[in-house]
Amino acid sequence: MVSQTWYLALAAFVFSCGLYAALTRRNAIAVLIGIELMLNAVNINLVTFWRYGSMAPMEQLSGQVFSLFVIAIAGAEAAVGLALIISVYRTRHTVNLDELDMLKG
């Protein structure tokens, strides 16, 4: 059996990759991809804690339920986020986050 620690370490790596993309990428879609990576890392953790955290994994299913909710909400988030990006692209002809500074004082 692979130890729980390794799953968590893997999730940490994926999360850091996502964080890097979200922090440094110019393109809004690339930032969104980073956010998806982070959500997935969280999901790995949730499922790992479900598997290794309880003596009755058949009944105590909160980890799985939450990861399913995260998947569903990530869907809603991606739908709205990408629609925003498309809408911004249509009016400003750019999806570069650096150039989208209308709100700057």
Partner: protein
Amino acid sequence: MSLPEMSALFPTLQEVIFVLFALLIAVTSLIAAMAPNLFHNALGLVATLFGIAGIYFMLEAEFVGVSQILVYIGAIATLITFAIMLTRGMMFGRTSAMNRQGLAGAIISGLFFVVLLGIVFQVPWPNVVADITDGEALIANLGALFVSTYLLPFELLALLLLVALTGALLLARDR
């Protein structure tokens, strides 16, 4: 060969498979985060999602694994690709793919990774493993939980999806 010896073969196989999946995820998530070409980012994301689905199957969360493939790869990744094509003018950009915080971002996420690793290896996790006897009953329990304990989130989710659909529709429509 005695029985314990034989069963000792199986865990090692599982570890090998885990390492393979972990390598796949590590490489492809780096591609997803760093490749300059946006479409390659999306493909890297898809491969990462596949690897993570494999991890779910290894953790015996089969329903989460299949939902991952269905929703993430089947729908979200496709949607991202569509959005990439719709905003294609930016794909072969004259500017670099990174913003000015490139170095700072790398340092921050690197530090973050180190801190996380430290926590992961320091904390004494419970690490109890109980056998899952009937996978089908587990999925049935999951379904029963949605409409009993998690009834409110379940219904709210339906509403959220409806609202997201309407909002995204208004935003993305050609006018």
